[in-house]
Symmetry: C2
Subunit: 408 residues, 2 copies
Amino acid sequence: MALIVQKYGGSSVKDPAHIKNVARRIVRTKRKKNKVVVVVSALGDTTDILLDLAEQITHDPSNREMDMLLSTGEQVSVSLLTMAIHELGERAVSFTGYQVGIVTDTSHTNARIVDVNTKKLSNALKKNSIVIVAGFQGKTIDEEITTLGRGGSDLTAVALAAALKAKRCEIYTDVDGVFTTDPRIEKQAQKIDTLSYEEMLELASLGAQIMQSRSIEVADKYNVPIYVCNSKNEKPGTLITREVKKMEKVLVRGIALNRNEAKITVFGVPDRPGIAATIFKILAERNINVDMIIQNKTVSNRTDISFTIMKSELRKALPIVKKAAHKVKAKNILIDENIAKLSVVGIGMRSHTGVAFKLFSALAEKKINIDMISTSEIKISCIIASKKARQAVQAIHKKFNLNKKNKD
Amino acid sequence: MALIVQKYGGSSVKDPAHIKNVARRIVRTKRKKNKVVVVVSALGDTTDILLDLAEQITHDPSNREMDMLLSTGEQVSVSLLTMAIHELGERAVSFTGYQVGIVTDTSHTNARIVDVNTKKLSNALKKNSIVIVAGFQGKTIDEEITTLGRGGSDLTAVALAAALKAKRCEIYTDVDGVFTTDPRIEKQAQKIDTLSYEEMLELASLGAQIMQSRSIEVADKYNVPIYVCNSKNEKPGTLITREVKKMEKVLVRGIALNRNEAKITVFGVPDRPGIAATIFKILAERNINVDMIIQNKTVSNRTDISFTIMKSELRKALPIVKKAAHKVKAKNILIDENIAKLSVVGIGMRSHTGVAFKLFSALAEKKINIDMISTSEIKISCIIASKKARQAVQAIHKKFNLNKKNKD
């Protein structure tokens, strides 16, 4: 008898009809002789409704009270889903994160799980019950209600799967799995059958947006296989697992595109040691995440520094960068919001050469200029003009033979 | 420094504007050098929305899951109200019934409080914080979420006031207090300044519907003064407290009218010992509450038995009564739904005579027939025709001089 953890997002339980559909899936899994633990998010737009109520009261809510407020969303889902399972004649019991023993630190609205006490859960499973757990939430050792921040329900699911040594953690969402690239950009994008945690991390953080990095990191750490699939159909999804030898045969697993970054260039910085440190230290102190950084010596004793940050942080970052630029006696600052970051990812790169060459050729053939390049062991990222992004993705997708079904 | 417990019902916190209004009241009480504990119900129609969601899933929900579902309503209120108080610059902290130590038995949806652990509450009060507690809910010793049934938030407030030895428990509602009778029936109805727990119990159970009997019984048991007033104005309300000598000066405190009962008469029952017991035993076994009972011998060896039950239980009761009537060889059954129960209440009756005479005279003067009569130490109830009820209340209200402001 295998133990399976399933997680259903808000769009999968947005109303009673959807909840009943999810209940049928769960019961089907149970009747295949599995023990089943289910993690659920808040119904559809519940969180937005609650946020709107809070906004009408205060523009600066206490994080503790926000957690108190928002954690009700998942509590509604778990009770309704449990009722729907009862209606199908199976045993089921719901728990809040508070009840089920998900212990977190005290960082309200963005807490980290520090412990998972599975006693209550195991007891319920022993009674042959399906267990429905509220995602996204936990409690501190002082019995304060906390929430886990963005992607928190995935994290709950992966953490429970790890603690219970589940066979698999199934993430139900509204897409069929992880694709070689965004199907809205390239119609020939193919669903990927299997990929490694590392590849998923690169694809997720680069904008695939199916799962948050935190959850994948935890899955990697505890070796929890993750299966991403669509709650609304029966198509096979994507298995994310530990790297296996045959994965390396594929050079490039997927192409991610991120249009949420902006590029800042600081021109004519005196070329002395410690100058870059000065600028990035100030940004770090203000919690502004810098992604790519390029330094390029132009004339004799001057250099240009370019870096990218999230567009959403631009307004906050700009005065800080200006101040820093002034401090290091830079000549000028340039902002470019019309950029896109395109990344090719694949663990095959480790053992194969020529990926960069192939990538640059594909772009050159389409006369697409590369603005910045950064590389890691399993990925190459380029910053290009935003308006060329779609064409670039299509060209690269074709170049790496991703248009044909990619058999792992 | 006095400790005051306040309770605000759902209509007082139905939207952000109302919540802000309540926050201002609370802060005002706090700034008069009081410690303040506040109990809140769910926002306006939240409970109905949740019940409707559940109804779309199942017609037979598990009580445990209903408690899980419904308890979210108050959790939303407490967090929003706490934010509103922060916005006014005062310290405040919210707790669920689960967190605050309201321990109940395991009767989901209608649990009884068995213990109140005030440690968390006292700690927060010591830090000079206003404490906002979710009404209507608690937890079992096994950490299951329970709710307290109808009027549960009042019960939470009274129980906390008792456990904390509060100076007063203030119940904020949408009426100005307890009236000598329903102002919709008698325009001259007067607000009562002070009444005893016992009188309130009779008035509440007879239809005044401001507070549930359970809460008043607990207040009586622990001698918690209750102050009922309107959350939307500043008018003085009604103080419900232990009987004091001067209360006895007033003969009749108020007149309650209840149109929710129906009368069943079983005709021609053999006049033998144990016959009434047979009928009422069967009703009790099926959990049908019988209110008034009258037995009247008509012809030699036969008798008629009349009794009243809630109209809402009529459909359930009827086949049972028919069966019982058949069993005791009764001749016939008659149902009358067009009745009203009118009660005059006052602890003054204990030491004064002539109340019954005055009451019957008032009705006789208006040619209103009395169908059944029952009396207790501090009340007299009559069943009359429903269509005469309004006229009867007005006549009695005048007869007992309640039209003039009743000075206690």
